[in-house]
Amino acid sequence: MLKYIIKRILMLIPVLIGVSIIVFLIMRVFSPDPAPIVLGQHATLQAVAAWRQANGLNDPIPLQYVHYLQGALTGNLGMSYYTKTPVVKEIFSRFPATIELACVSIVLASVFGILIGVISAVKKNTIFDNSGMFLALIGVSMPIFWLGILLIILFSGTLHWLPSNGRINPLLEPSHVTGFYLVDSLISGNLDSFVDAVRHLILPSCALAMYSMAIITRMTRSSMLDTLQQDFIRTARAKGVSEGKVIRKHALRNGLIPIITVIGLQLGSLLGGAVLTETVFSWPGIGAYTVTCILNSDFPVVQGVVLLVAAIFVFMNLIVDVIYAFLDPRIKYSKKEV
């Protein structure tokens, strides 16, 4: 098992190098020259040339890539063209906001997705099932950003219940420990901050969770329907086990493997969805910032972010595979499979 994990981790290296090459090619070969964008349209030719020289953009592309890779291996992803701060610092100052949003969303999506999926499967072809499936269908068909807009119109604009942008009221910002406001406000014992952070999180996390919830609902339903037809379920019922226990202990536990896979994959795609959600809710995370950086040709930041997101995505895949083995003792990674 350990050997399998190590081998899988080693296999991630070429994938990540490949990702860095793809992004490098898109940004440095096909994208417009960043110098006029950074320096402004009225910059002199000398200033542009000096700026390109200072940022290593006059080197041949392969050499630029080698320099980049050398830096990346030592944790140096370069400097932002605009803020002149290290990319690593730029990313980590915004990343907690995105991770906090994505984590709350995945918890919401998983809890409600599994719940609705199980009810739909158990009450198959009833009004519960039809409503659940209709909700799931709407969830996969609705643009995330439009759902966000609708939530803002209803809960902020009309009912005035919840805030429509930002992470927290600046006056209530907790002292920075982890960067996760929910955690930081609890550490500092500031309940007002905690409540305010929760209130700010509700709308964006619901908007972001909707698509994943729909996918998890569908997967849970189909997995549960398959499992509920198995012989061991019939046996459990024949033995007189209560229906609730049959569903919780026998069916759900066995039907959980494909559900876990979907949840793992959704966490990766939530980071993509965050790009739009953060834009709608002016959430100060990495998603909205990346869009700005792509449009401003801030190469170093874009490369850093995409590499980080890709790393998280492939790690999530790995973790899902490892969880498989723990959940289902029948899955063993034999030498042959390794």
């Binding site: 940004m27 439009w146 993509g272 739009l276 990346t290 040709s297 995409v306």
Partner: protein, 310 residues
């Protein structure tokens, strides 16, 4: 031994003949099952209506006639922000343009981007997936690792990066959305090819001296076409969503053209003063995506032997 060999090839040829007939019957069976699926039929009807609207708008433009209630691109600042009424069913936007006419006009953009983007990802994805699956070995490894790398980057980020590189505009959006979906098709086609390439009719086709490309396109692909059709249908819904997302971020179709995502993006500043300008384009996107999802799900069920028996 000789008898055995001849019976083997006879059997192989018979099977080959049987499989040559299969694509048609498979699609026919799919259609029969699909017809009984109410949700899929609803999806199909909505798509039919959307196609009719798009065609009507397009043809009327070609002939220089106005069939929409108002010119979708004509702005009259004095008529800005009129709430929905009998004259302007969905109201007017910040520039006084009729939102209903713009939404109808946007149908042709969303559908054409969706179909064109899927055409790009489908054609490139099928070639890559078929080559990887059929050739195997190093070719397979090289193609599929490249696909894995593309899949590791969230598609919307990749599409935005392509747009930044290619520039804004309808054609660029089609290319960007088409490119990011290639890996999905390549994976599906490769998987399907792997599952059929060891069949006797493929061996038979090889034995009688067919070229590799002919074996792939004449003998193997027709047998996996239904899987591709399902994916392409669902792919159009993702493409419509991606187009809207790019438009919303200001990267897609540029003004004055009416694109639903772009309409949402530009109306964002008026979310509290004129919420209707943000509601109707969203409904249009959702209905279109929903229709393709309903049809795609119906096709997938029709393909599943288990649900056919049911």
């Amino acid at each position: 031994m000789e008898t055995k060999h001849s019976s083997y090839s006879d059997e192989g040829l018979l099977q080959a003949a049987e499989y040559v007939e299969k694509p048609e019957s498979q699609l026919k069976l799919m259609w029969e099952t699909l017809r009984q699926n109410k949700a899929a039929v609803v999806g199909l009807i909505i798509i039919g209506l959307l196609v009719l609207i798009a065609l009507a708008v397009w043809l009327s433009e070609l002939m220089g006639k106005q069939i929409l209630p108002y010119d979708p691109n004509f702005s009259d600042m004095s008529k800005g922000f009129i709430w929905p009424n009998a004259e302007h069913w969905f109201g007017t936007d910040q520039l006084g343009r009729d939102v209903f006419s713009r939404i109808l006009d946007g149908t042709k953009i969303s559908l054409s981007v969706g179909v064109a983007a899927v055409a790009i990802s489908l054609s490139v994805g099928v070639v890559l997936g078929a080559t990887a699956g059929y050739r195997g070995g190093k070719t397979d490894a090289a193609i599929m690792r490249l696909m894995d790398m593309m899949l590791a980057i969230p598609s919307i980020l990749l599409a935005i990066a392509f747009m930044a590189a290619l520039g804004k505009g309808l054609d660029k959006a089609i290319i960007a959305i088409g490119l990011v979906s290639i890996p999905e098709y390549a994976r599906i086609v490769r998987g399907s090819i792997l599952s059929v390439k060891e069949n006797d009719y493929v061996h038979a086709a090889k034995i009688i001296g067919n070229k590799t490309s002919r074996i792939i396109y004449k003998h193997i692909l027709p047998n996996v076409i239904s899987v591709i059709v399902v994916r392409a249908t669902l792919g159009i819904s993702s493409a419509v969503l991606d187009t809207a997302a790019l438009g919303f971020l200001g990267l897609g179709v540029q003004p004055p053209f009416a694109e639903w995502g772009d309409m949402l993006g530009r109306a964002r500043g008026f979310i509290f003063s004129a919420p209707y300008t943000l509601i109707f384009p969203g409904i249009a996107i959702t209905i279109t995506v929903l229709a393709f999802n309903l049809l795609g799900d119906g096709l997938r069920d029709a393909l599943d032997p288990k649900s056919r028996i049911k």
